[in-house]
Subunit: 161 residues, 2 copies
DNA sequence: TCTAACCTTGACGTAAACGTTAAGGTTATG
DNA sequence: CATAACCTTAACGTTTACGTCAAGGTTAGA
């Protein structure tokens, strides 16, 4: 009764303190305001709310999601379309989870889990592929460093003579 | 005397068998001819030779390099500009290696190695960053799979009752 | 030597991912 | 309540990484 009414007890001003303007989100995430609007345009991130005057208001969750998006974009080089699908897959899993919790029959519950697992395994394949390619590159570079180290040791011995 | 004249003993036809047309390279690498021409335009890959009539002729090395480029582009999501710089850094290391071999003074040789190492370490940082981001994602997904496995076991036990 | 099947260099087109005004509405603050 | 500072949508501009003709030259094979 107390926990569930947690938000109902907040007034306007307090609610506004919970949310962020587009400017605040932009500086916090290192993205531009244009980018945030664009991401909404292409269905990547809809801010949680809008003010009376139609100003965007972002929640902490929104900021989290933006972080995810940036990671997928910058570090992993996914296209925005790819990212949207990845995040959609996650949301789909969330839905499956809800359905799972509401399901009473055990065999149906197990089936939901299987469906979810398939989505996860698809993503794991993508990731594994990238990781092994990167590890190969890393190994190659490390081998070069080691060879240089060996050469340096030889040179220093030579110097001693 | 035999090994150094290896290529001089080949006639026109045999040389042509060593090289590949743009079409052949395209099919082999899974890229389009347009892409190959574009990569030359932006300074990413210059085919080893040209025929009398100005047709591009690619060597096996060229194909290797294209493979590298494709990997960096598709798997790691680097831009063509990034890739050009990465490959340039590698070529720079090659140059340092040559200078290194021609250098007689030990301290200078060691300095060359250091220069080369710095380039390598820069690339390693980039790669490590990407790998750890990917590993985090992988771990998160695997944890989910395990949780599902646990749930399944519980459900099956429940069924037995 | 002739011709079909290649290749060449322009040059214009396109999708993705934003950048940049422009014209006007909203909000916060003295 | 005025107004500076912020926000909105709309619309056109830009860069990257190619796709797609077009007009003409080259090559390989009968």
């Amino acid at each position: 009764m107390f926990a569930t009414d947690e938000y109902a007890s907040l007034n306007e001003e307090q609610i506004q303190q919970q949310t962020l303007t587009i400017e605040q989100v932009a500086t916090r995430t290192g993205m531009t305001k244009r980018t945030l609007r664009y991401y909404e345009e292409v269905g990547l991130l809809f801010p949680t709310g809008r003010t009376e005057g139609n100003y965007r208001r972002y929640s902490e969750e929104d900021v989290q999601r933006l972080g995810r998006i940036k990671e997928l974009r910058d570090l992993l080089g996914f296209s925005l379309t790819d990212i949207r699908e990845l995040l959609l897959a996650e949301e789909e899993r969330e839905q499956i989870k809800v359905a799972y919790n509401q399901e009473t029959e055990v065999s149906a519950k197990i089936a939901q889990l299987e469906r979810s697992d398939n989505l996860i395994r698809g993503q794991l394949l993508l990731i594994d592929e990238k990781i092994s390619a990167l590890e190969q590159m890393r190994t190659a570079l490390r081998v070069k460093l080691e060879r240089h180290e060996t050469k340096r040791t030889l040179l220093r011995n030579e110097e001693q003579l």
